[in-house]
Every structure is written in structure tokens, then in C-alpha cells.
């Protein structure tokens, strides 16, 4: 079985990938997906810690379930907002969303 550090590295890498996607994607749906990556990086961390350090109480795994649930809600809301914006503006390109500035 790989060590804890390996899991943590995977988590950190996933987190960075998520951030990269968040910053560079032009498609709003892709941005939402990147956010999921961020949260899943956290989940990997939590479950790894839970397995290695807290095998009895498994608080981390419970925490991860909460995170997954909330992430689902967040994604739903995010998609709803993207839908609303698409209806009004016929685009989901992030480059266009700067009516509000300065």
C-alpha cells in the first residue's frame, strides 16, 4: 500500500490542476468542473488522513461525505446560474462576463 505522502501528493497535484483549470478555462461549465477537482483533492486528503491516522473514528471519511454532498449542491446551483446566464446572453464564455468592473 502506498504511503500517506503519496496520497497527499496526489491530492496536492489534483488541487493544483483544479486551480489551473479554474483560472484558464473559457467555458463556464469547465470552470465548474475545475471546482469539483478542488473539492475532490480535499476529499483525497481527508480520506487518506482518515485511513492512516484516524482509522477508528473515521471522521475524515464522514467529512468527505459532507463535502461530496455540498459539492453536488454547489454544482447544481452553479449549473442553474450558468443556465440563467446562457438564456440571457446566449454565451457561456467567461471572456464575456465582465459587465461589472471598475
Amino acid at each position: 500500500m502506498p504511503s500517506l505522502n503519496a496520497f497527499l501528493l496526489v491530492g496536492a497535484a489534483l488541487f493544483c490542476i483544479g486551480f489551473y483549470g479554474l483560472v484558464t478555462s473559457r467555458n463556464a461549465v469547465r470552470v465548474l468542473m475545475s471546482i469539483e477537482l478542488l473539492l475532490n483533492a480535499v476529499n483525497i486528503n481527508l480520506i487518506a488522513f482518515s485511513n492512516f491516522l484516524d482509522p477508528n473514528n473515521i471522521r475524515g471519511q464522514l467529512f468527505a461525505i459532507f463535502v461530496i454532498t455540498v459539492a453536488a449542491a454547489e454544482a447544481a446551483v452553479g449549473l442553474a446560474i450558468v443556465l440563467a446566464i446562457y438564456r440571457n446572453r446566449d454565451t457561456i464564455d467567461m471572456e464575456n462576463f465582465n459587465l461589472l468592473k471598475w
Binding site: I35, V42, N45, L46, R59, G78, I85, L100
Partner: protein, 513 residues
């Protein structure tokens, strides 16, 4: 495992239950009666919030504040912040009645979402376990995203909502990542107070988690440099929502900041105080300076709220008993003056349909009441005596002087002088200048139901803004008792206050040697 129900101490959350019940009742009434009963929803909401406040007040000092096995701590600190949140939610309801009628959007959703946000914020003020914190935070955040996109046919509202969601989600990702590290470093603890002793000797890893957590919290506080969503979201969202975000949501953020820092990181107080000194100074400077260059009233108030958060952070950054109590007091006064200003903005934009600052010129000739309310609230925000904001700032700066944080006081004073410029500019416009076209076309003829509640709200906030200044001494002793009865803050009190600002400058040199 057999859990004794009495050990849950579930009674400490009665105010939250009542808010939840109100939420369900509002939903049901809307479901059953539909449009017929939509007029009653704001009053139902107000009633619920009122009852919740009534049940909250007797909990001032509970024998046993720990509830749900440590997930929630109903200590006086949480009671104060929950009261702030309830009051700001109630005032938000007062200002939204007319706004929602006029924008002809679904009524029930708004109040349900507002109650949801209130519930999240209240839970956040008291939660002391990481999963609980996360869930409460997300409850607050998600409802806020929806609220800011509430005007769903308005492009700007859509965009505000999307930006809020993206940045909010990214921030909560960061916050979560920090908490996951904290969970690991503490060897599998999620209770804040349990974590503290286990990470004391950890050094850099703990600091990494600290920065992540602070960044996550500072998103809610809209502290520079995590502030950039604020002006955009404030400008695009419906004004009552902005009012709630700027006060209720921010108060919850501060409650979380105080609790998280003092419970989980008492061993790193020097470091997190340095962080907050930096963030406070940045917020005060950037918020006030950029506010000067704004042309939209809502955007100006957004920058003003960034700057105000900077002032409040002074109390957090000095980390003394006086610091916390002056912080609580300032949030209390800020609540009324800021909501008063937003109510005035709501009334003005209802009547003229604009938020441009120049449109306010000459308003005095048409509506002295609105001018008076807005002037008093803005002057109080600027810290002009004898209004409440002045005393609030005075106590904050005084607390900072007592713990030798002169850099903070210096920046606070200089930036508040700069802030007077943009607040007074609006007042001057309203009083002195010739009426703008919008003001000339101003009429109270369109006044229908809902304006009265808005006016009542304006009256309440204005009176509070004027009167609170006089009542400060009793309020200070109130804040002091609330802190003295809060266990997590007791350790801070006994820890010797260090002058962070000076060490902040010298420490790198020491390290290098």
C-alpha cells in the same frame, strides 16, 4: 455507541430551529396559498426572526454552552453574533418588501433563501467543529449565491451571481484544503479545541494550514487581497441582498475568524495576528482609496465595506480583550449605519431607478427625510462625532493604542481621514448642489405598500446610529461580559499580548542569522 440525548444539549439551538420552522412555514404558505398570501410572507418572516431573537436573548449565559457533542458552542460570543445576524436579517426584510413587489419576482423564494442564509450564518457563528463549520459556511454561501442571482432576468445579477459562485467555491476549496491538512496534522481531530494542543510544535505545516484557513475566511470578510469579488457582486446583486451580505454574512465571518483563530491556533497567535495586521492595513488603504474613484453608490459602499472590515480587523489583529470587545461593538454599530445607508439607497433607486452618485445631487430639496437618513449613516460610517461610528472607531483605535499597535492606529487614522472625502462628497451633493434630472423627476406618487416598512427600517437604523453613541459605556460592559464568559477567549487573555507590528518587521532579520 449509545448517545445520551440529554448530552446533546440540543436546546441551545432553539433560535436556529425557529428560523428553520419559519423557513418551512413560508414555503408551505406559498405552496398552499400561492400568490394570494404572498403579501404575508415578509411579515411571517419578521415574526419568525422576532421569535428567534426572543428565544436567543435568554441564552445570554448558558450553564453548558457545548451542544451536539462539541459541534456547536452556544457561548455568549456566539449569542452576540447570532443576535447581530438576526437583526440584520430582520432589517433586510424591512427593506425588501417594496423592492420585491416592484421587481415582480417570486416572493417566497427570496424569503426562504434569506432565512436559509440567516440560518447558515447563525450556525457558523457558533460552530466549533470543522465539518459543522464547512456545512454552515456552505449553507450561507450557496444561499447567498442564489440571492445575488435572484433577479434572474437581469444580466448583471446573473454575472454577479456567477462571479460570486466561482470565487466563493474556489475560496471554500482553499478553506477545505486547509482544514483537511489540519485534520491530518492533528492526527485525526476535527474539534477546534482538540486540534490546538496537537499542532503547537508543528511549525511550517501548521502555518501552511493557517494561511489556507485565513484565506478562506477572508473571502467572507472581503479583506484585501481576497476582496475583488465584492464590488462586482455588490454592484450587480439586488440591493437588499447586498445589504445582508455586507452585514450579516460579514458578521458571521468575523465570528468564525475569532473562534477559529483563538480555538485552533492559540499557539500561533503571533503569526495569525501578523497576517491580520497586514490584511487590515491593506483593506483600510485599498478600500478607502479606491472608494474615492467610484461613481456608483453601491460600488462605493462596497469599497467602503472593505475598508470597514479593515477597521474591524484591527480588533482581531491586536488580539486583546479590549480588541475583541471593541470589534464586537464596531460590528454592532456598523450593522445599523451600513444597513441605514443601504435602505436609503434602496429607497432612492426605487424612486429613480439609478445608483449613480451624481444622481443624488440636490436631493434635499425633494426628500429631506431620505437625505437626513443617508447623511447621518454616511457621516457615522466616516466616523464623525457624535454619531455611533465615531465612538466605535474611537474604542477600536484606543484598544490598539493600549497594545502599542501604533502602525495600525496610524493607518486607521490616515485612511479614515481619506474616507471622509468620499462620504462627505455624497452628503454635500445632496445638500448643496442643484437637483439632478433624476431628482427633479422624483415623485412620491408611486408610493404603495412596503414603503412604510422601508421607512420604519430607516427610522430604526438612524435612531440607532444616533443613539448608540450615547449608550456606549453600557454596551462596552456588555461586550466585556460576553467575552469574559467565553472560554476560548480566556486563554488569549492570559497569554501576554505581544506587539506584533514591531516583531513583524524585525523577525525576518532574526531568522536570517
Amino acid at each position: 455507541m449509545n448517545i445520551d440525548l440529554a448530552a446533546l444539549n440540543a436546546g441551545a439551538l432553539w433560535p436556529e430551529y425557529i428560523v428553520t420552522i419559519t423557513l418551512v412555514v413560508v414555503l408551505l404558505v406559498d405552496l398552499i396559498s400561492g400568490r394570494k398570501a404572498s403579501w404575508s410572507l415578509p411579515y411571517l418572516t419578521l415574526l419568525g426572526l422576532g421569535i428567534a431573537t426572543a428565544t436567543l436573548l435568554p441564552m445570554w449565559i448558558l450553564e453548558n454552552p457545548v451542544s451536539f457533542l462539541g459541534s456547536f458552542t452556544a457561548d455568549p460570543l456566539s449569542v452576540v453574533f447570532r443576535a447581530f445576524i438576526l437583526i440584520s436579517a430582520a432589517l433586510t426584510v424591512l427593506m425588501s418588501v417594496r423592492y420585491i413587489n416592484q421587481s415582480s419576482l417570486a416572493t417566497a423564494e427570496f424569503y426562504v433563501l434569506l432565512l436559509g442564509a440567516t440560518l447558515g450564518a447563525m450556525l457558523l457563528s457558533g460552530s466549533s467543529e470543522m465539518a459543522m463549520i464547512f456545512v454552515a459556511l456552505e449553507l450561507l454561501s450557496i444561499t447567498s449565491y442564489l440571492l445575488s442571482g435572484y433577479a434572474k432576468l437581469d444580466k448583471r445579477s446573473n454575472e454577479a451571481s456567477l462571479k460570486y459562485l466561482l470565487i466563493g467555491a474556489a475560496s471554500s476549496g482553499i478553506f477545505l484544503y486547509g482544514m483537511s491538512l489540519l485534520y491530518g496534522f492533528s492526527g485525526g481531530q476535527t474539534q477546534l479545541t482538540e486540534i490546538a494542543p496537537r499542532i503547537v510544535d508543528l511549525g511550517f505545516p501548521a502555518l501552511l494550514s493557517l494561511v489556507l484557513v485565513v484565506a478562506g475566511i477572508c473571502f467572507k470578510l472581503s479583506a484585501v487581497p481576497f476582496h475583488q469579488w465584492t464590488p462586482d457582486v455588490y454592484e450587480g446583486s439586488p440591493t437588499p441582498v447586498v445589504a445582508f451580505l455586507s452585514v450579516g454574512s460579514k458578521a458571521a465571518g468575523f465570528a468564525l475568524a475569532i473562534r477559529f483563530m483563538t480555538s485552533a491556533y492559540p499557539g500561533f497567535s503571533e503569526q495569525w495576528q501578523t497576517l491580520f495586521v497586514l490584511l487590515a492595513i491593506l483593506s483600510m488603504v485599498l478600500g478607502n482609496v479606491v472608494a474615492i474613484a467610484q461613481t456608483s453608490m453601491k460600488r462605493m459602499l462596497a469599497y467602503s465595506s472593505i475598508a470597514q472590515a479593515g477597521y474591524v480587523m484591527i480588533g482581531l489583529a491586536i488580539g486583546t480583550q479590549e480588541g475583541y470587545s471593541s470589534m464586537i461593538l464596531y460590528i454592532g454599530t456598523y450593522l445599523f449605519m451600513n444597513l441605514g445607508a443601504f435602505m436609503a439607497v434602496v429607497l432612492f433607486s426605487l424612486r429613480t431607478g439609478t445608483d449613480e452618485i451624481t444622481a443624488y445631487s440636490g436631493l434635499y430639496q425633494k426628500d429631506p427625510f431620505l437625505t437626513l437618513v443617508l447623511s447621518l449613516c454616511l457621516l457615522s460610517l466616516a466616523g464623525i462625532p457624535p454619531l455611533a461610528g465615531f465612538f466605535g472607531k474611537l474604542y477600536l483605535f484606543w484598544a490598539a493604542v493600549q497594545s502599542q499597535a501604533y502602525t495600525l492606529v496610524f493607518f486607521g487614522l490616515v485612511t479614515s481621514v481619506a474616507s471622509i472625502y468620499y462620504y462627505v462628497r455624497v452628503v454635500k451633493l445632496m445638500l448643496v448642489k442643484e437637483p439632478s434630472p433624476q431628482v427633479l423627476g422624483y415623485s412620491e406618487a408611486g408610493d404603495q405598500d412596503g414603503i412604510q416598512t422601508l421607512k420604519a427600517g430607516m427610522l430604526i437604523t438612524t435612531v440607532a446610529t444616533v443613539v448608540l453613541g450615547i449608550l456606549f459605556p453600557p454596551l462596552i460592559s456588555l461586550a466585556d461580559t460576553s467575552l469574559r464568559a467565553t472560554p476560548s477567549l480566556q486563554q488569549v487573555r492570559t497569554a501576554t499580548p505581544v506587539s506584533r507590528v514591531s516583531t513583524g518587521a524585525e523577525a525576518p532579520a532574526d531568522h536570517g542569522r
